[in-house]
Subunit: 450 residues, 2 copies
């Protein structure tokens, strides 16, 4: 079989790179669990009518058929999920009778989209989602809570500083309504183009597509330029002279979210109110957020989310929810490719147990068993080469320690970085704790993740 | 939207059930890492020509097409992997230049097969595979090692006792050849039916399909009935009077595997030589194994594997491998359905921090932050109901502790199982370590997994 080319859009990690992804997922999971969120996984397929809603995404859905179905009916009616929100809302509906509400869950799984691959955009990509869902009601304070959880979670990751940019749909809608705009929905859709089009072009579209007067368009743009790292946006919005009940509610909610997230002890996270964030096509009804990573603004957001008044409904019962998603693949793969993040070694082994000769392999295996009993990951050398070659074998894998079993029970262990060698007992010796597991290295500072 | 029916063959776990699956996967991963195996994940799709090899499995392959491809070319040429061996061998070939050999890896991922669902057989199911792969050569001792690793791994799981039943292809082939059988491959295929057909029927088929004389057929059956928990099979095979070089090699290898695995300190694992195990259609060339779970023999094997002399090849280089796979879904889902395994609670929270009134929610949040700093998973009550209701809220979720923030800094925490309540400081108090995380409960003995 010939040389194998990679499959575009389906990136795979080498073992040392996978160390980074695993540590990040473990860290996220640990934070979510500290905040009382339960982990679930959903099946990767959903009935097509649940996935395809006539939106932009439809043409990116992968549909499953059987290669050779016995009965000729090869279409399964199933497609692969393109996010974790659709399957989660279906999970809530399907299992509602067995869940306690408010239901707090996190989920870390791949999703699939048949889109054109580019940096940060893949056909298979992993996301980490955290949500709270209520039955019929969900108090607003969960908006603050869920966002604060993600602030805490991302602060603990070895990634560059991130910025949470918050807005609130009620604020936008209330402002537009108070302003007397004819078509609020169209206006939101137009304002969402501010990062692609110049301001005067957006103003023109507001007039053309949202029925705004030039004065109204100007005010919409003024609102959208407000971006502050605290609750001073309240004053600035008030200064625009628009009054509306929904606007008041939105201002209060956004202020609470910004204040709550700022109180989290998270030095590598910036929290801002950015009144141009709209998350155009999604069905958010209150809080919205987009997350950006410093130095990687070209990826656009590496995460986002918000409040849905109806994450799911079965006709009788409605399930309001609030959640936020972090793009694990979208953020990590560019960082790994750029060498910003790397695993310290491609193997879990902290120790290579050398083999004197094939006859005494059993003795080396017993040493390894003793080390593992103390929780030390290790492996036995595959061949009884000269010790120099066995040391080089360890060195190529980044294994820091080599153990030499003594014939008469006198063992020695060598730190191959320093060359220091000491007499040791396999039942009691352990390496320094920082050698026990592969670590995540960053180019800025060599950092250890626990 | 109407009530949602589950999708046959795509089982999903409730949060407390997912605790079991996660703990099992964490335990397996930990053991594999202690033995120096690196984790990788492969993409879930492979080019169809790599999956469909004209075998039985072909008609179970799920093929991907795009729902609405722009160019009408909706077929992607991709299918979902139906095991972890095919993608792993492709991964080795694709990334060989970046891997160190022998390459030791483990992989825990779902796979998909469009087969008829039944107990233990699902359309989406998770497997845990551990393999060692060499470049051109792979010393035999890795057969012993990999099997011993899985023995160690399954012994640490909270599942019923398992039995490893080993055989060796060289032993079978050498015996058949030494016996003068005309068609060795056909004979293996026939003998593999012994668990479905009576012995005399198998004898008849050996004559009919493998060109055996009735005497040869009788000897084949004698060989296949040998099943012992030690290396005494060597004597018994010798007593059948067949001599062959390959047979000798197979006997020595099987004896080494049985002996090596018996030496593992694994009280809940039985190791046997069972000379009827053939793993019919797979391309094994030496060691073969099937794993059975006590009380669940109806599931057939819950794992299996063996030695491939050519796991992968690119024409110039051949990669021999030895590995073994454990069916995580196949074994756990029936145990969970039968109530043999359960999670101790559906939420990670060990503590519910009560809320006195909505005005003081911030105080409760600060208590939670302090507890999390000590590594205590907790959540703040969603509403400021009467304390009795907040306690019942915790009780329904299996949360063992409820924290009452005192107005003047005098906090108390209550064990809602015993009703005992003590004054405590959120900066220093922690619950007993066994309350910190949800545990896996078994019906036989209430057991804790770390």
């Amino acid at each position: 079989m010939a040389r194998i080319a990679p499959l575009s859009g389906f990136p795979e990690l080498l073992p040392a790179q996978r160390v980074v992804e695993r540590e990040v997922i473990a860290s996220l999971s640990q934070t979510f669990e500290l905040h009382g969120f339960a982990n679930i996984e959903t099946r990767v397929v959903e009935p097509l009518d649940r996935l395809a809603k006539g939106g932009e995404i439809d043409k990116e859905i992968y549909v499953l058929r059987r290669l050779q179905a016995d009965d000729g009916a090869d279409d399964t009616g199933l497609g692969m999920h393109f996010d974790l929100t659709v399957p989660f809302s279906r999970y809530v509906l399907e299992h509602a009778g067995h869940l306690e509400f408010p239901f707090r869950r996190f989920q870390v799984q791949p999703a699939w989209r048949g889109e054109r691959p580019q940096e940060g955009r893949y056909r298979q990509f992993t996301q980490a989602d955290v949500d709270v869902v209520g039955r019929d009601v969900l108090p607003f304070h969960h908006d603050v809570e869920v966002m604060a959880v993600m602030v805490d979670a991302l602060d603990r990751l070895p990634v560059p500083p991130v910025s949470f940019q918050f807005n609130n749909r009620k604020l936008i809608q209330g402002f537009y309504r108070g302003l007397g705009l004819a078509d609020v929905t169209a206006a939101i859709r137009v304002i969402d183009k501010l990062d692609k089009l110049p301001a005067d072009e957006v103003a023109r579209l507001l007039v053309e597509q949202a029925g705004a007067t030039p004065e109204q368009a100007a005010r919409c743009l003024e609102l959208a330029t407000i971006r502050v790292p605290d609750t001073s946006f309240v004053e600035r919005v008030r200064a625009l002279g628009v009054t509306d009940e929904l606007l008041d509610e939105g201002l209060a909610e956004l202020a609470a979210v910004v204040e709550g997230c700022s109180q989290v002890d998270a030095p590598s996270v910036t929290v801002e109110a950015n009144l141009r964030i709209a998350r155009g096509l999604d069905y958010y009804t209150g809080t919205v957020v987009e997350i950006f990573m410093r130095g990687y603004e070209r990826l656009k957001s590496v995460g986002g989310g918000g409040r849905y008044d109806a994450l799911a409904t079965d006709g009788k019962t409605t399930y309001p929810g609030v959640g936020v998603s972090f793009g694990v693949s979208r953020s990590l793969l560019p960082l790994i490719a750029d060498g910003v993040l790397a695993g310290s070694r491609p193997v879990p082994s902290a120790v290579l147990v050398a083999v004197v000769d094939e006859e005494s392999r059993g003795r080396s295996t017993r040493v390894a068993t003793a080390l593992r009993r103390s929780g030390v990951p290790c492996e036995v050398a595959p061949t009884a080469q000269k010790f120099g070659k066995q040391i080089r074998f360890a060195d190529r894998r980044g294994i820091p320690w080599v153990w030499f079993p003594g014939e008469d029970g006198e063992h020695t262990v060598k730190d191959i970085r320093s060359g220091e060698q000491v007499v040791a007992d396999p039942a009691t010796w352990t390496p320094p704790v920082e050698d026990l597991r592969p670590r995540v290295l960053t180019t800025t500072t060599e950092e250890t993740t626990p």
